[in-house]
């Protein structure tokens, strides 16, 4: 609490010193400020393949990045009106607290302390991650439960290592872990045959697999042994902005659920389905209630795509990472991604 207290003191001092300048900024909500500024400032990860990485032209691409672009599309009808700020794991929360960024979408796990003590709100979980295993196809293992007595390469001193021990103890299996100080060393050891399996966050497993000398000989096992809901974060104290960030994700999920995508968007605008009518704003004024426009979901899908399209493009089979939907499939398709209805 200390940090935010200091921030308050500084802000208060400033408000006293420059009342004329500071007053209007205190009054206007962040959504209005963003609209006036003409761009969303989005704290993101600049070096995680699949989630946030500049391409050959220097354009930011990735799953988290597209969430930022969807927010810009909903507000401005223009997905390029985003200012990306590359943040490290260390300074991401400071940047959000100090107002340097409007929203933090940087593969950040939602946990109780981050949601409360840091003065932030987790707005929406765009990716359910968790710790997983990768093994060589040749050892013919189809489940993590068959890893009894197998040697497992892991990075030392991480929660990954603790989760691994917990999992093996809980399932009464014998663990032979081989720990390395650096993730790279652990990876090299596995690739050269020192261990039977390698464990890390599942999303990372896919991006490391393509670095192996023969990627096609390795499979990621279906078990996920820890939960890491990666979410977007906003500051405490601005509920309207919180709603916007939250509902942009829900809009994308609903669009996928009702099969509204880039290709059939204009067709769906004529749909008679009341759910789709409400979603696309041909009926009711649900977008305006959020402080956006009626056609907010139309804008998102037109410029960025629905949740499934974004997943497919950045992480799915048509990307080099080839991540399966797993937990991130819609609730109607065996996953846990579910969005409240627009009504």
């Amino acid at each position: 609490m200390k940090r935010s207290l200091n921030t308050m003191t500084i802000a208060a001092t400033f408000a006293l010193a420059m009342p004329a300048l500071a007053a209007p900024t205190m009054a206007a909500g962040l959504l209005d400020q963003v609209k006036a500024r003409g761009s969303v400032s989005c704290g993101s990860n600049g070096q995680l393949p699949g989630f946030g990485l500049p391409d050959a032209q220097g354009n930011w691409t990735g799953f988290d990045v597209d969430y930022c672009r969807a927010i810009a599309a909903a507000i401005f009808n223009d997905p390029t009106k985003v200012k990306f700020v590359a943040l490290t794991a260390k300074d991401r929360f400071t940047a959000l607290q100090s107002g340097d960024v409007d929203v933090l979408i940087r593969n950040t796990t939602w946990s109780s302390s981050r949601d409360s003590q840091l003065g932030l709100n987790a707005a929406g979980t765009n990716y359910y991650d968790g710790q997983g295993f990768i093994v060589r196809q040749s050892i013919k293992v189809n489940s993590a439960l068959e890893l009894n007595d197998a040697s497992i390469c892991v990075q030392q001193g991480t929660t990954t290592e603790l989760n691994l021990a917990d999992y093996f103890r809980a399932n009464k299996m014998k663990l032979k872990s081989v720990a390395f100080a650096q993730l790279d060393e652990a990876l090299k050891a596995y690739d050269s045959g020192r261990c039977d399996a390698f464990t890390a966050d599942a999303s990372a497993l896919y991006s490391v697999r393509i670095k192996f000398s023969k990627p096609e000989e390795h499979v990621v096992l279906p078990e996920i042994i820890s939960k890491e809901p990666l979410s977007s974060f906003v500051r405490h104290g601005d509920d309207q902005w919180f709603d916007v960030v939250k509902w942009v994700l829900f809009g994308m999920l609903n669009a996928e659920e009702y099969n509204v995508n880039k290709a059939n968007l204009d067709e769906q605008m004529k749909s008679e389905n009341p759910d789709i009518k409400r979603l696309l704003g041909t009926e009711g004024s649900y977008g305006e209630q959020l402080g956006l426009t009626k056609d907010w979901v139309y804008r998102i899908v037109k410029h960025v795509g629905n949740y499934g399209e974004v997943f497919e493009r950045n992480l799915g089979p048509s990307s080099p990472l080839k991540v399966t939907r797993g937990l991130n499939a819609l609730w109607t398709k065996g996953g846990i991604q579910i969005a409240p209805p627009v009504r």
Binding site: Q33, Q47, G58, N59, F84, V85, S98, S213, P320
Partner: protein
Amino acid sequence: MTVTSAEDMVFVQRVPAKVLPPPVTQVGAIGWARTNLFSSIRSTVLTFFTAGVLVWIAVPIIQFLLIDAVWSAKDPTACLPREGHEVGACWAFIHERIGYFTYGSYPPAERWRVNLFFLLLAFGSGLMLWLDAPRRGLGAVYFFVVLPVVSYILLSGWPLIGLPRVETDLWGGMLVTIVVATVGIVVSLPIGILLALGRQSNMLAVRFLSITFIEFVRGVPLITVLFMASVMLPLFVPPEFSPDKLLRALVGMVIFAAAYQAEVVRAGLEGIPQGQIEAAKALGLRYWRLNSSIVLPQALRITIPNIVNSFIALFKDTSLVFFVGIFDFLKTIEVARLDPKWSGPNTSLTGYAFAAIVYFFCCYLMASYAESVERRLGRADRR
């Protein structure tokens, strides 16, 4: 006794003896090698040892960088090792990403502006570095007044004259490295000189302020200064007034470099004999005249190696701006190597090798120029 002519004296040589070349073992390559490489047993052993080490290091490097290298490829799989075929450096990766390394995220349609900036800067530096250039005064005006204004308009844009705005968060790569290094070098030296003079001033307030500034800035790491500038500043200033991110980093760099430059220049100032200053005062020279005509020209000449030394350090320090989320040259390489599209085992190595080559080239240029200036200005000392 008969007088005989010289012709009769058969033992007198009349034609000069033929000049023989020195033995082959004493001159040329062999002679040089004998005196320098194999003059004694110890020297011979050392020679073979050094040659062995060189071969041991150089052969794999050349093998990797040149012989096994993939020079160009249509698709990234060419850089992946295949059965029975070693693959070295993946230059095709550098080739595809060179635009990103040079301009960062600068919009491709506007990149000609960056090229023009590079040209103008090269022209200006050429003028400044060419010591015999005609009309150096005009050159200085161009470099210190025209160039900064034109570059600013060119790079960040001015919609009124048809140049769309390009926010600095899109700048990156070599562009950022060069902008930060140039601004750091050009702005920090004058400030450093003023601080050095201030530190020796008779006026208590000036001296105290200079000493405080120098000691405070030198006492904290550069990363801390950059971090303060980029993360803490927005806490004190409302968002609308908080300066641009690149500007914040620039100010941090300049402040830092100026403090170091001040100490370098002070070393030169201390090296000027007190007698010269007293003599100049006796001639009636006032403070600024005394410093600009007598003290500084000599002091700066003595300190050129140190000044350039800190310039080189500053050039390499520019890579620290990535801590505040700015993608400089090195950072663009670090990021690009992560791209799954180029996920070959040698992509990272190639990227770092390329960075090393570029940094070495730039720093070596600076060092060579400094050496030539030093030789030229030091001519008087050697007479």
